[in-house]
Symmetry: C2
Amino acid sequence: MADEVVVIEGDGIGREVVPAAVEVLEAFDIDFEFVEAEAGDAVKEATGEALPTETYETVADADATLFGAAGETAADVILPLRDAVDSFVNVRPAKAYPGVDALRPETDVVFLRENTEGVYAGHEDRLSEDLSTLTRVVTASASRELAEYACEFVGDGRGPDGRDGFTVAHKSNVMRETDGRFRREVLAVAEERGVDADEELMDAFATKLPLDPSQYGVVVCPNLAGDVLSDLAAGLVGGLGLLPSANVGHENGLFEPVHGTAPDIAGEGIANPTAAVLSAAMLLEHLGHVEEGGRVRTAVESVLSDGPRTGDLGGDATTEEVTAAIVDRL
Amino acid sequence: MADEVVVIEGDGIGREVVPAAVEVLEAFDIDFEFVEAEAGDAVKEATGEALPTETYETVADADATLFGAAGETAADVILPLRDAVDSFVNVRPAKAYPGVDALRPETDVVFLRENTEGVYAGHEDRLSEDLSTLTRVVTASASRELAEYACEFVGDGRGPDGRDGFTVAHKSNVMRETDGRFRREVLAVAEERGVDADEELMDAFATKLPLDPSQYGVVVCPNLAGDVLSDLAAGLVGGLGLLPSANVGHENGLFEPVHGTAPDIAGEGIANPTAAVLSAAMLLEHLGHVEEGGRVRTAVESVLSDGPRTGDLGGDATTEEVTAAIVDRL
Ligand SMILES: CC(C)[C@H](C(=O)O)[C@@H](O)C(=O)O
Ligand SMILES: CC(C)[C@H](C(=O)O)[C@@H](O)C(=O)O
């Protein structure tokens, strides 16, 4: 049976890089059924809703979704979509590619970010004229599920350089009950599974990653810590332009470049499709097409090292030229 | 009347760098009354309490406190001490010094971190076998007080290069009510005071700071954001070894190096006293000895550029030799 893949371009350069990624997917002899759906600023403008119910349901019922970017409405789109695919982990590799100018070229870290709770569970109240509160949520079950995933991830040799352990980053010296629980459950699962795990306070991690990224491989974090620390890693590899991500669910997944809509260059056909194409590679792997995913990655690395480049990487190629080069080298 | 300054060495290299900082303070013809007090792992070992009530009260009643570092008990010591001095802002300058190896030598950023609430207000509950929660707190009053301080700070020309505006970093797209309030109140105060303020999501800030630190000067943040983002800046200037901080209260203050106890080198007399000495400079300024504070800073910069260096900076000088050189150049 065909895999149903929902395609949501969204706003800005999402409309350019998502078609590029679809072109790469179509280059394989795989039976995909692509379904277009809408979300983002433009559809909100038109209908009043950034994420139409129809889109939510289409995504929830599909096998996987490829998403581009949304503008002002990003949070209104992406947080419910993560929920639609029942995602419990956000996989965010941050790798410096040969030939790309990076502050720390040795960076090769994969963040496994908890994707359902923490401050994102988001029960907020305005208790008085002066006082607002937010209830941050941590459960043993979500922490353990993330840890099980991390153990399988490193067990399968998917960590950078096949590293077989991981680091838990947290702030349990201040959030003793909540991050204390997160830390304890994650380390307990690692121990049960015989996986090496060490830990780092998230503030110390933020100091140490720029000083020496090679000391880290797979990093397991609560939701907001994963958001901030993976974006920090993006700064070390040269920006968000090349970074893919996977919101992995139990039987579904949502794949998106980490970058935004880049309004300054949107519509010109010069956006870098790399992050979207690498997100498509993660989608392929998630659907079991592991060999094809690897081929996309290899083609992307080859083009980055000596192929045409878009303006963000100092070249003057168009999105279409870079995409054609990637397809050519598959 | 003499200014009463409490001196808490704490653990590890705190016992070496705090005496060095006191030596610098004593070099001035200022009438200080130094009072020794205890806190940290060692006193916990001996008495069962990391922060004896007597220490808390001595600190609360003094004009200022110079603190070194605490080991495992850091949070048990430092969080109540911030409360003892009634601190509402943690001032954390992160500057790369000439002659010191830094990933981003152009970094010169001062973080003004909210110092009383956010997740540090810390109401945590274990609601079930599975579920723990933390209530994050944001008030308009604390947000506005921080913003007033920031406006005065830049108005007084204390921002890097005399910059007259600031950036608010927050995560209001997710924490809409709490960080929404923080952001709104801080920007409103800036507008009332005619101070330029722009804003950045904290995750975007974490990407952009390493890419180009020169775009930021004074950064105003909620408590945990300030913790993590200032530690990130530390990684760009070469580590925590040189960074001072000031916990500023209404009529009191607590001054501490950002570094920890450095157990690997503690007791050898080779710790770098710079961060503690620069914290003493902030203490001097806080007590109105602005000219003297400036002289300490200038002497430190001079020694860093061509004076004796401790091992962390590639030299082989002792703590005492570096301190003597600083005193010599005052
Ligand atoms: C848009 C925003 C809600 C989102 C997040 O905070 O998760 C984004 O920063 C990301 O990391 O995908
Ligand atoms: C020790 C810890 C509680 C403290 C904090 O989180 O504030 C430390 O990281 C700091 O930044 O001074």
